[in-house]
């Protein structure tokens, strides 16, 4: 075991994957010599050579397309999109090509690809370094969307994603690269060094895909969260005095329906959350499915805690971000509801 922050844990996963499988290659804008603007790929070029860890020209569509060609021809590319806000030039390649190749070729070609990308807000990045675009991707058949919330899961989920034979979009909550975040903008900066999930095995292990985890047990209400909001939800649950059960989804598509419905049937109440704008977000999908599967167990409407239907503002970041207060209000409301 070693103490790792999320950057080190992801780097360790890449290192192990490249060590174990000569077909794993890593590339992206500034990811080669420099090791990425967040340093996730640091040291890999030195260790594995120029043609296994390299820089690309600035063209996200071409990065995705290159991964498609390489993967179809037997490699296992792990490509970085520098910020998830910049993934959209690659959208056509992902929607129409990468995620359909297995289907349209009736399994003759496959796409073992991981697209990693720093994701989410809370770093005063303004509208082009703060987005949570996961819902655009959860809508695509044939694509896994994975979002870890801590170093231990980040490493295990990344290794599982690389070893999986289908394409994965792997979003990394950049606000938590260096430490967990409880959603209080003015609070002290936390570090993973004092967090149990900052204890990471140095060797190979995986955290299962498509599997959620109950990270806080409770009886009164189920709170579904992923990425940055897992920690916000946990802190809010502590402070609110409500006996909330918090579930970290980890994989958004396909989501772990059993863990979710078991919990909601137990608690009878549910809050779904996302940092992204409210309308047509992933929380809406969860809400609809829970309503279908758990309707007769529900004692209150399902509440959503989300960002607003606006672009991510810069100066007023903390009025946009769904922080502790908004979770606490939702917890109280859902408990007071009939």
């Amino acid at each position: 075991m070693a103490k790792m922050n999320m950057i080190q844990a992801l780097n360790s996963a890449l290192d192990i994957a490249m060590e174990n499988d000569p077909n794993v290659v890593s590339f992206g804008e500034d990811t080669g010599y420099f090791g990425g603007v967040f340093r996730v790929t640091a040291g890999l070029q030195d260790k594995y050579g120029l043609d296994r860890s390299f820089d690309t020209p600035i063209n996200e569509a071409a990065i995705a397309a290159m991964a498609i060609g390489m993967a179809a021809n037997g490699l296992r590319p792990v490509a970085e999109i520098q910020f998830s806000d910049y993934i959209f030039p690659a959208f056509d390649q992902i929607v129409n090509e990468m995620t359909r190749l297995r289907y349209r070729s009736a399994g003759q070609y496959t796409q073992p690809i991981v697209l990693r990308s720093p994701w989410g807000g809370g770093i005063r990045g303004g509208q082009t370094h703060s987005m949570s675009p996961e819902a655009f991707f959860t809508h695509i058949p044939g694509l896994r969307v994975v979002i870890p919330s801590n170093p231990y899961d980040a490493k295990g989920l990344l290794l599982a994603s690389i070893e999986n034979n289908d394409p994965v979009v792997f979003f990394e909550p950049k606000r938590m690269y260096n430490g967990p975040f409880d959603g209080k903008a003015d609070g002290a900066l936390a570090s993973w060094a004092n967090h149990p999930k900052g204890e990471v095995p140095e060797g190979h292990y995986t955290v299962p895909l498509d599997t959620a985890e109950v990270v806080r047990e409770g009886n009164d209400v189920t709170v579904l969260a992923y990425g940055t909001l897992v920690h916000v939800a946990l802190s809010a649950a502590e402070k609110s005095g409500v006996d909330a059960e918090v579930i970290d989804l980890k994989t958004l598509t396909p989501y772990d329906i059993d863990t979710i419905t078991t919990s909601v049937k137990k608690t009878g109440r549910c809050i779904v959350s996302q940092e992204a704008p409210r309308t047509s977000g992933f929380a809406a999908e969860l809400s609809a499915q829970i309503q279908e599967d758990c309707f007769y167990a529900l004692e209150a409407p399902i509440y959503r805690v989300t960002g607003w239907d606006t672009p991510y503002p810069h100066a007023h970041e903390w009025s946009y971000f769904p922080g502790q207060d908004r979770f606490i209000n939702a917890l109280k409301s859902v408990m007071e509801a009939a």
Binding site: D46, D55, P57, I58, N59, Y86, T310, H314, H316
Partner: protein
């Protein structure tokens, strides 16, 4: 280091930290060499300009050759002033960022001539679609410095209501488009603007700037395709400052001998210009604007320059290039070169330069005091919180009204 030869070529820069930078391999044409064709030349006839380099100031700081725009010393002094102001402003803002006064900053050090001379050669009524590194245009167009600062510190007087990262200015009154953080997107938009200008029968010219790294984006090729197809009155500029964050320009240029050459495939008049030579930049932009205004179509220009400082306040270039590289850059510093030219003409001297520096430093310090009186990012006041729900649509829909109520503002 892995010992195997890479199985495909992955370009690497010539120098890494610790290396002694030596640019003697660069084949830099002499000032005055380039021929100046008439503005109605066919695009395909500009090969020599795309392979060569338009340069006016020679190593003795004298203006030579056909491209000499023969500017009045008053205009040169004005250009010098805007460039010095740009640099002083950048320095100050970077310091303030370090002190926590703003979230982020991007300097244009070493590239001031590209934006200042380019803007001065255009009319103020011409439209510009800059990237985040052409703040010099704002000074050349006379934007109020306090207003610029209020944007950067996101206070109550920020004309963008705190919605954008610092440096991502918008100034419609000054015909300055809204800068996007997404690279390349605005290059083809500039062509659309230029077509609309034609549609409305104005003689407005439109210019856009991107960096060398951004030429790899599909939107770069979209812009050149559109400009070539519709013969739009647009000037498409690539500032080759040698770097895209940590990545050397050779990652974007591929096998092309120059970025300027890439325009020729589209049949667009293309040229490479010494980007640290105020007079050459001015002359090229003036030529391109005249060409566009007279209906002869687009021009595509590469400015050969060097990013003398970090990419942004989030970057530390000592991790990927020698610290001494900027000093070794063979095309010098744009401010020094124009200053020396003016001195050579007997139109300037060290004392006046020092006085200018001092005056502009004082102006920037005084302006910042005033800007701060309208608030700072951390201590406020900011634009009112409910403003985050404005301008999403023309009118707020029920969702935004509800969300505003939920937020309790």
């Amino acid at each position: 280091m892995a010992t195997n030869e890479p199985r495909y070529r992955v370009p690497v820069p010539n120098f890494r930290p610790g290396d002694e930078p030596d640019f003697s391999h660069l084949n830099i044409p002499a000032a005055g060499d380039a021929k100046r064709p008439s503005v109605d030349v066919e695009g395909r006839e500009t090969t020599a300009l795309a392979l060569g380099m338009v340069r006016v100031l020679d190593h003795n700081h004298q203006a030579v050759g056909e491209w000499n725009p023969e500017l009045d010393p008053d205009v040169l002094r004005e250009g010098l002033r805007h460039m010095v102001l740009t640099r002083v402003y950048d320095e100050r803002m970077q310091k303030l960022q370090r002190q926590g006064k703003m979230s982020f900053y991007m300097k244009s050090t070493g590239e001031e001539a590209v934006s200042v001379a380019g803007a001065m050669a255009l009319k103020n009524s011409d439209m510009v679609f800059p990237s985040y590194r052409q703040q010099g245009i704002l000074f050349a167009r006379g934007r109020d410095i306090v207003d610029m600062m209020c944007h950067c510190i996101s206070n109550s007087k920020d004309n963008l209501k705190g919605r954008q990262l610092p440096v991502h200015y918008t100034w419609a009154e000054g015909n300055f488009f809204s800068i996007s953080g997404n690279l390349g997107t605005q290059f083809p938009q500039a062509v659309g603007w230029a077509m609309a200008a034609r549609y409305k029968s104005t003689d407005q010219v439109t210019a856009s700037w991107i960096g060398d790294g951004t030429t790899a984006e599909g939107d770069f090729h979209g812009a050149l395709t559109l400009a070539s197809t519709y013969k739009a009155p647009v000037i498409l500029n690539v500032v080759n400052n040698q770097f895209a964050i940590s990545t050397h320009q050779n990652m974007a240029i591929g096998e092309a001998p120059t970025f300027a050459m890439k325009g020729l495939g589209y049949g667009i008049a293309s040229m490479r210009v010494d980007g640290n030579d105020f007079l050459a930049v001015y002359a090229a932009m003036q030529w391109a604007a005249e060409r566009a205004r007279n209906g002869h179509g687009p021009t595509y220009v590469e400015y050969f320059s060097y990013r003398a400082d970090a990419h942004s306040t989030s970057d530390d270039p000592s991790g990927y290039r020698p610290k001494t590289e900027a000093r070794a850059w063979p095309l010098g510093d744009p401010i020094e070169r124009l200053k020396n030219h003016l001195i050579g003409l007997g139109e300037w001297d060290e004392e006046r330069h020092e006085a200018l520096d001092k005056e502009l430093n004082e102006l920037v310090v005084k302006s910042y005091k005033e800007a701060e009186s309208f608030g700072t990012l951390h201590d406020g006041p900011l634009s009112p919180i409910p403003s985050i729900f404005e301008d999403v649509f023309e009118d707020q829909d029920w969702r935004l009204i509800r969300q505003r109520q939920d937020l309790g503002v």
